[in-house]
Amino acid sequence: MINVKIDHSKENSHSKFELKTVLETSRMLVESRDSAFIINNLLLILMGRLLVTKAAIFIHDPVKETYCLKKRKGFDKFQEGSHYNFELNSEQVNQSYFELTGNSNLIPSADADLNNCYLFNLRTSNNHHGYLLLGPKANNRKFNPEDLEFAESLCIISTAALVNSQLFTELTTTYRNLDRRIHELNTLFDLSKEFNLLVDRDKISSIFKFALLGQLFIRTFFLIYKTGDSYSLLASSGAVTKPSQKQIDRIFSEADEDIIVVDDDLRNRHDWINKSHITTLFSVTIQNERVALIGVGERVNKIPFSDADYNFLKSLANLAVISIQKTFFLEERIDKERMEEELSIAKAIQEGLLPDPIPEIAGVDLAAKTISSREVGGDYFDIAEAPDGNTIFAIADVTGKGVPAALLMANLQSMLHVLLPVEITLSEATDRINNIIHKNTPSDKFITFFWAKYINDHKILRYVNAGHNPPLLLRFGEDEFIELTDGGLLLGAMETMMPYVQTDIQLNSGDLLVCYTDGIDETMNAGDEEYGTKRLKDCIVSNRDKSSQEILDAIVNSVKEYSGNKFSDDLTLLVLKACD
């Protein structure tokens, strides 16, 4: 009786101890998020409680379809971290635990004596997670049912805790990845705001560099940017040495894929890339044109770049490159605006060089006008009073158009006005002007020049024609034009060898003189035909009875109409009609 009683209370306290252990373990395990701790505890508690000297835990790897040995005590034949295949029959698979016999071939790849060992299935109600291999008791006794029940309970609790810890790890990883993405987005957002405000290329490149270094955790970086047909290094960091222009050109033209992972072949061919420890190259393409090449070194903590990293780099690079492009466009626009402003000032200056209004001269009805095909041009006319009280008329055409022609035209204008008060003949003055123009201008620049002095008292027109389209003189009552061709070579072609000839013409009331530049007769129509002197003469004849201004307007309108309102050259007209 007594014995039985003692046995009974012993059994009672034993099971109480077990219950307490299970409870405490369960609390400890559930609170733990560390799978290594959980596995280690499962082994230690079981080994201590059941007097076992060897035990091991295998966790199922769903990808490889194998079991990875996470932790072992004893079982020297097994290796932690190695993967094993378990061969269980269909009955064993569903059992919570079972005993192994000497001839068991449970783990074929391991040459281990598993006689008298137990295999516990580590599972939750839904899923299988692995196995606990439990060695025989040290005292060679059999496991009793309480032992097995205790081990089974502990396996269930530990498996649940393991699943928890895995979930927790996954969640933490997911959360951190999410946090990283959010941080990347913030970086992109920050930089797009910042880049918008910046017009300084170096500053944009530098901010781009720092953001990339910080976000990707790298030290080595370069940015090559293409402007027009040339490539230049805009920023670099870390081991990147200064490349020669040739090295820049070669790597840019060769690295023509979106992402290139640098291999030995590329390292051998590009010493600069090799020495700079660049491991990946990225091209930035905007509107089908490769405009930038970015090189980065490996991450400082050696973790390889992920697709997410590549995507981030690409977004950031696009943002930076577009902003850099913007700075170039802006500079071009500023240059263009400055040029336009200067041209409009030049136009005003040039207009100031022409007589305005056209002065009234006794005895002649006078009209003159110049139209430039561009802001400024090379056509010139002038009407000025000489010291002797007579009037000088001039018309000229500088070869070429635009600013170069305008400069030469201004030069001619100033010479004419300097020579005006000097007491020399028209012929001598032309000689001098020619010599100066010849000396001062490139050999391919010429001026055709016609000028005349109208001597009021005698109604005489004294003229010199230096290679200019002959002005057309239509005498009153006649139908044939007289062309005023006398003079000499155009200005600037060669030094004056033969003096320019001056010729006097007597003007009578109603005589009409039309001086023009080649913008009139060489104006083309849509069919590429010139306006020509015939049309000009016809126009003059049919308007001969009108005033000088009306004749001038008629000619301009006729040419305008002929060309379809497009003037490709400067044109100038000076119309003079003798009156009573």
Binding site: K209, A211, L213, G214, Q215, F217
Partner: protein
């Protein structure tokens, strides 16, 4: 928003940079200037104190990446201290604790310098 600024002081022969406000793409160049200055004057035992820094962007972290090697080459180091949780989280997120010594307090950074030398 506090404006970003850097104050430089010397403590026991160590160069301390106190950062204030927000270190972002816009202000990163100021930090770059300070570090470049210290390096060119061969002052390489540098502690950056983040106590008054409210925010840091990737560009700010990039400046540390760009100059850590230069500082270590001349025998020094950049140690970081007194970060608030938000700022530390960014450093941690991008892997910086593997490359930099980060301390709760400036004094610990100084002690580390002393025990290393």
């Amino acid at each position: 928003m506090k404006t970003f600024k850097i104050e430089q002081r010397n403590s026991d022969g160590f160069e301390i940079l106190d950062l204030y406000g927000e270190l972002d793409a816009h202000t990163a160049s100021q930090l770059e200037e300070s570090l470049k200055n210290l390096i060119s004057n061969h002052k390489s035992n540098i502690i950056v104190n983040f106590r008054e820094l409210d925010y840091i962007a990737s560009a700010g972290l990039g400046v540390f990446m760009a100059y850590i090697e230069d500082v270590r080459t001349i025998g020094g180091d950049i140690k970081l201290s007194n970060m608030n949780d938000k700022v530390y989280n960014v450093f941690d997120l991008l892997g910086f604790p593997t490359l930099y010594d980060i301390f709760d307090d400036e004094k610990q950074a100084i002690n580390k310098f002393l025990s290393d030398s």
